[in-house]
């Protein structure tokens, strides 16, 4: 064991003493997301549109996606955006619980291992500069780096950037969401040229943000773009 590792371990133990991990959903002490709650995450229906995730009788493209060209090859999510994933995402995003990124990445890893996608690099969906400063970090970037080191994929950060501060997507209709994030992203360098990129984000509702980010990656030279999010909002919540 080297010095840095020991120091890190001691630091973690001290922090565990002062701020003991307790489950974001049921408050039980022991882990930030306890095993019981992690097991109760609602998986998405197996039969769904491979592009947008809409539940379907069979796994074919849904009518909307058939009519619209999407820059995304496929979109995967760990589970639906209900308790306990909802509490977890809230804690990660709004309560400053950065320590939750790694346990969540571990869940993503398990999910990923069942059927990995043929990607070469990871890219977190970026936040606007002001939002990163306001929040202290980009939760998607935390997820991406923890997930990347677990599955052995490199993370390309700061290539894809958000060039304008868009308003929150919460409460907008599908059309408004697409308009809101249209042209919001761009690539600032050539690092994704020729790569098969996996976009990482916390929640996906209609996929508008992911689609806009994917288009920017394709414009930046990526050969194909895929997406993986922690949670997927049930379709009924957006009109």
């Amino acid at each position: 064991m080297n010095v840095a590792e020991t120091r890190h371990r001691t630091q973690t133990q001290a922090l565990d003493l002062l701020y003991p991990p307790h489950c974001v959903a049921c408050e039980r002490v022991g882990a930030w997301l306890c095993d019981d709650c992690a097991a109760s995450i609602t998986p998405l229906p197996t039969a769904c549109c491979p592009r947008c995730g809409r539940p379907m009788p069979t796994s074919r493209l849904c009518r909307t996606c058939r009519g619209r060209r999407s820059p995304l090859q496929a979109l995967r999510s760990l589970g639906s955006y209900t308790s306990p994933l909802r509490e977890a995402v809230h804690a990660l995003k709004y309560d400053g619980l950065a320590a939750l990124a790694d346990p969540l990445a571990a869940l993503l890893e398990t999910y990923w291992r069942q059927a990995p996608l043929p990607v070469t690099v990871l890219a977190p969906v970026p936040l606007h500069r002001g939002r990163v400063r306001y929040r202290g970090y980009n939760q998607a970037a935390l997820l991406a780096s923890a997930f990347g080191s677990r599955v052995g994929l490199p993370v390309v950060e700061d290539c894809l950037v958000r060039r304008r501060a868009t308003r929150s997507q919460v409460g907008l209709s599908v059309a408004d969401r697409h308009a809101n994030v249209n042209e919001a992203f761009c690539c600032v360098d050539e690092r994704v040229r020729g790569e098969r990129v996996l976009l990482i984000d916390d929640v996906c509702t209609t996929g508008a943000t992911l689609a806009a980010a994917a288009q920017a990656l394709l414009d930046g030279g990526a050969s194909s773009v895929w997406a993986l999010t922690l949670a997927r909002a049930p379709f009924a919540t957006v009109r």
Partner: protein
Amino acid sequence: MTLICLTLAWTLGILLGRWLSPPLWTLAGLLAMASVTAVAVRHHLRALLATALVIAALLGAGRMALAQPRFDAGDLATYNDLDQPLTLRGTVSADPDRRSTYTQLQLSVDELLDEQGAHPVHGRAVLNVPAYPAYAYGDRLEVTGRLETPPVLDEFDYREYLAGRGVHSLLRRAQVSVLEGQGGVGLLRGLYNVRLALRAAVERTLPDPEAGLLTGILLGMGHTLPEELDEAFRAAGLSHIMVISGYNIGLVAVAVLLVTRRRLGIWPALALSLVGIALYTLFVGPSAPVLRAMLMACLLAGARFAGRKSHTLTTLAATSLIMTAINPHYLWSVSYQLSFAATLGLVVVEPVLTRRLQAHMVRDADPDQAAHGSALVRDVLLVTLAAQLATLPVMWTQFGEMSLVAPLANALVLPVQPAIMLLGAISTLLGALWTPLGQAAGWLVWPFLRFCVWVVEALGGLPWATIALPRLDGGLVWGLYAFVMAWMVWRRPRKVKLPASEREPSPEARRNRVVLAGLALAAVLVWGGVGALPDRRLHVWVLDVGQGDAILMRTPGGATVLVDGGPDPALLAARLGRILPFWQRRIDLLVATHADQDHLAGLLPLVTRYEVGLIVEPLGMQENALRVQWDAVVSASGAHVVRLSRGAEINLGDTLRLQLLNPSQRAGAMPVSDGNAGSLVLLASMGEWRMLLTGDIDAETEAALIASGQPLRATCLKVAHHGAGTGTSADFLEAVDPQVALISVGADNDYGHPAEQTLARLAAADVRVYRTDECGTLEVLTDGERCWVRGAY
């Protein structure tokens, strides 16, 4: 959970350390043994944890042993309880505790003076001094008095209380002189000056007792309310709103975050809010609840920095650990116990209550209603109920009583606290800049404060507001408490899953609510204003200020006259605030009949709180210590003073006429030694109606008045000297021939006022007698022909 257990072991260690007081070397030996064991068992988690608990307990005992006062040769406490008075020099080491009638100073003593010269000593003493002249933090004083060991009283261990503050001596009957000012820490001096200026601004902008309430809520300066209201606050279970606590600290932190986070980002904003909290802590004084809230806020911010979420119970344990490590005496401090118990209630008891309720509602109602309904009940009732249940053992062991009305009182009063803090802070800051501006802003906060006082008076005044609890052994109560708390933590009901309601109130609904609140506020203000408009009658109030005189008049035109102020400024201010309309901050004429404590003392702070048109004193008012302070206060305020004697006449708005009948001296006369005989005597008249105000004169002066041939006949007589037997002679009564006599006197006073023989003489003269000790404040109304008397104001 580990830290919670360690804190419990540490606390137990402190208790055992105090109980057994083991020698330090024993503890050191045990500690060494435990440490060796810990190293030996370091790979067995359970054994290691058990050893760690033992080590924590030993450290706690050691901390307590170190905190026991040990008085060495140079310690001030070794001079306690000597027969002769001592002369000491030292610096005022805390912001003086300015009470209504006196001020308590904490002096850090460094020199002892005797015939041989100055000897270095060290230690702190507290002493009570008159409210005037005012002393400040950092003043270097020379004091002479007797040093005493603080007493252990029946109800209250004053010695332990002071020991917790590092004070082991009381200085009685102290004579004080200032050597130099401007000592101490500059930052603290600045903060205390700002605080004093803000308090003065509050007192200029708002009437009492609302002003006193606001200084408590906002600035943490308690002890500014009259005693009876303090009592009502305790009975209503609302004393805690007068204490700066986590609520204020949280508000400061959130305010700083809100203002700075968007612009600077989270980390600088967090750092700034910590700076803000630290400054506020210094500003209001690091009392136990403030220190607790500050430490918890720091730990919360630390969690954010570490990318973690705090576990509230662990954070509370860590806070307790830090505080008792700084000063283990905290464990015996009531404010520390109350503060921690209340927080424990919010962390442990409230979730239990709420989840029980939610479980019921989820079963019986539709889920959305359950979410809303339970949030409402929780905010209004369960939070205060939890805090009250959790603080019950403290109330039990320390005060032996429990408030029955507290849940209702808290549910009514707590929702308006944020409005009071926000509007109060605005009006205070504006008032510090320019008084009229602050007064205008004060109209907005006044109704909320008035509402609080109304709730406190209504509920705290109920005869069954509190019940006495049987005396029980403290150990038993606390043991039971620990058991219940542990059980609640252990068998904590699981979180009830409620649909996450994302329905925010619509902007229209929110706007409607604001408009409604504004209309209600306006209605209250208008009605308050209409009720206080002049009614073409002369009102005279003989105020119930305890043992003393204070008489307020309002002419049909609305001019105000105050004759004397009673012994207690806070009580006088509260009585005035209740009678005068809330916007009235002016007294047109202030009359001091003589310089005795029970007439003049109440007037001193009034001169700075109200705008005073003219001050009238008797010519040759006696020169006592109070007179010297009065002169200093009056000349500092810049109010206009005239000294008058027999023959002078004052007309107010050509309806009320005041004629001066006494004293008889001419200008340039020597001051009299007997103040009572030199009292101003006033004959107030309007139309046919007359009232004679006699100050504290005795039969001799009465005879001189009769002999002087001045008109004495009056409808109403303010009986001289609170009804003392030395005055109100039968001859005088015959000369005045009153129909009504008013006696301003305190219940159960030490002087036996009013005297039996005076009452007998009044009865013989067939005069109706009204007394403030029986009826409270008395009100006389007249239209110039007829006259009414009302009691129990």
